[in-house]
Symmetry: D2
Subunit: 117 residues, 4 copies
């Protein structure tokens, strides 16, 4: 599948989904999860949309570009929230995965599988 | 959950996901599935996005409106394709579910949980 | 889709997924979400498996019975945890949806679409 | 996420989901998709369960082992069917991804995150 036209963005989405799922559970295990509530909610949303986008691209869906545009939006929101929690490694790791994925999704949304590297 | 602000649209999304999944498999079982290939592909996409939207609304996600806007788009595309297959009950049933869901999602996208009945 | 052989269990799964998603977010919004952490985690798992099972039945999948058996297991675990939180309506509503869904999934797992009402 | 206790199995599941999604659409685009109908149906099931398993492991879910056991079963069924279509690259690629994923899931189901490399 490495020759897949959307390969780079599929990989970014799968990595981001893992980081979001991991972050959600780590947030819940913090001593005080109250300030993490919005982070958990965005992690759940973002993981779901990343997995949807990954599948749509793997199927070379007609709607892959529209789905990637939405995914970029979710990744930005989730990454911004995670980025605020400076002392939590799971949040920083998630923020970075979200940043990479948002960028890849914006490119895929604009250019489709033709413009993908 | 009937008192849920998004209740009507959640129900429409769940019904549409079922109709799409059912249609996909029924298309594959036709004597000649070749002319149904695009229908199957759109059914898979549409079912996935309907289930995503249903979950996002049930979680009253910040991004529920954006997800519903995308879902309306998918439902229209899938409903239009299914609508072309006049002699197939599974396609006609799916086209109707897509029409109802597209309408509910457009309303939810515009008004959010506030404007939902 | 009401004539679908798995109709009753599909409906139970969709209702349970909504109740779990709703419960997860309501738990996160409690004044002290710490004691709800396991509940949120099980809600996320259970919602995901319920939506998987609903789709597999709607597609009359060869593996629908095995998926329903797993779903029954998840619903029991989630319902037991939710049942412990007596003063929270979202948990009590979710516990009841889990109980109904676990029963429907056990029947579907045993009898498949043949034994479904 | 490379240090994640389930890292190897998560990677196998994500790779398998991509291969299944890709195979489903490629089957539909064959000149005669009729003999591929069961392959498409199994691809859809297997992709869905692989993404579920990947998420459950990333969340270190209590039910990750049970979900991996189901995933191993789906991967075997899908891989066996794909393996029959000797002249189709997408099927052979998918069969190999299913074989790797079934093995990783069987190990994860037995040993959980403790036994994972």
């Amino acid at each position: 599948m490495n020759h897949h036209p959307y390969a780079e963005c599929i990989e970014a989405c799968d990595q981001c989904a893992r980081a979001c799922d991991n972050c959600a559970v780590a947030c819940l295990q913090e001593a005080d999860p109250k300030p993490m509530a919005r982070c958990v909610a965005l992690d759940i949303d973002c993981a779901a949309v990343c997995r949807l986008a990954s599948g749509a691209m793997a199927r070379d869906s007609e709607h892959a570009q529209a789905i990637c545009a939405l995914c970029a939006q979710l990744c930005e929101a989730c990454g911004t929230e995670c980025g605020r929690h400076h002392h939590m490694d799971h949040c920083q790791e998630c923020a970075e995965a979200c940043r990479v994925c948002a960028e890849a999704c914006r490119r895929a949304a604009l250019h489709g599988s033709v413009g993908a590297p």
